[in-house]
Symmetry: C2
Subunit: 207 residues, 2 copies
């Protein structure tokens, strides 16, 4: 047929991302394919490749937008009040987000880049923003050195990641979804207690 130009390439980009997100929300990552996206938006498969480098690039973009929304959700956590309660609030908002977007959240676990392909810079930056957010909330209860604070933030991210992965991926556990709350609470409580005990044994001023 040839050109259509009904949409600008920016519009087309949005249409593609929206259709992809909808598809994942409805049917999960397994149902996503370039050809299925094309079908949904009434374009040929080739058109996707005018707008995105390839399917991985498209999917990473969807994931990037999801991370933006996670960050926005985490920003609701109050910046005042009991430090320990703030960590718990952060973890709860994190868990709530994953629960509100189960199939979309699954992308983080189910989508994998080909061996050796590093993540793009803009994507890495979004991950760093999440880690920064965790660091900020963790700062009052942890860490004498910035290295230790960095590490603690990564451990919390890993722990939350592990708990949401285990409850989401039915393959890894017979865990019910409601168990995740108790696990998150247990994890945060005990881990933070450990961090605080380290604080107390140094010269810095604790809570």
């Amino acid at each position: 047929m040839g050109r259509r130009s009904i949409h600008t390439s920016e519009e087309l980009r949005e249409i593609i991302l929206e259709a992809s997100t909808d598809l994942i929300r409805e049917q999960g990552f397994g149902a996503l394919s370039a050809r299925e996206i094309a079908r949904r938006i009434n374009y040929s498969p080739g058109t996707l490749y005018n707008v995105f480098e390839n399917l991985d690039d498209l999917i990473l973009t969807v994931e990037g937008r999801m991370l933006d929304r996670l960050l926005a959700a985490l920003d609701i956590v109050p910046t005042t009040g009991n430090p320990r309660e703030r960590v718990k609030a952060l973890a709860e908002h994190y868990l709530k987000f994953t629960r509100d977007n189960p199939k979309l959240w699954g992308l983080l676990f189910e989508h994998h880049l080909p061996q050796g392909r590093p993540v793009p810079g803009w994507y890495q930056q979004k991950l760093d923003q999440v880690l920064d957010r965790i660091e900020a909330v963790l700062a009052p209860v942890a860490a004498v050195s910035s290295q230790e604070l960095r590490r603690a933030a990564r451990v919390v991210w890993a722990g939350m990641h592990g708990i949401t992965a285990l409850t989401a991926a039915t393959k890894l556990s017979g865990l019910a979804t409601e168990d995740a709350d108790l696990m998150v609470e247990d994890f945060v409580n005990n881990y933070v207690t450990g961090l605080e005990s380290m604080l107390g044994s140094s010269e810095s001023t604790a809570v």
Copy 2:
């Protein structure tokens, strides 16, 4: 061509599983396909379906054998000595195993069953065995109730899972592999401190 019967179906089963494991060890899960396995063992693709229900069944079997080896590796952890050191030893053996089998370990993260398909019973049992092993080691440092012990074991499993996933999946972090040791140590130390502090505040006899 028709029948060959060079191998019994048990032999064929082993040949298929071995070829699959080798393929994953060498090139990762992404390179695995029914057709590629068939090519490697000089059988037609159809033959795989005489021995396994489908590709997921085959892959779960490979994963099951990996879990058996993980369990064997965890059994080296001494059953005597300082309780806290035993938890750390368990975590270190776990980490070592994932590092010795990086691509194979990746199966746990990269392979997913179709939506809604539950894991087979024999597979669930192997997961339970891992959890039991963790519970056993955790028992002296944690838990007034068996429910809390169960939960603690799952949190440790989730935490280890999260840390190994984050360091394995380059997509989720710019973490170097050597960071995993420090994260595991930090996680175990602080989490166990938290657990022990709970113990102390109850009527049971602590360490």
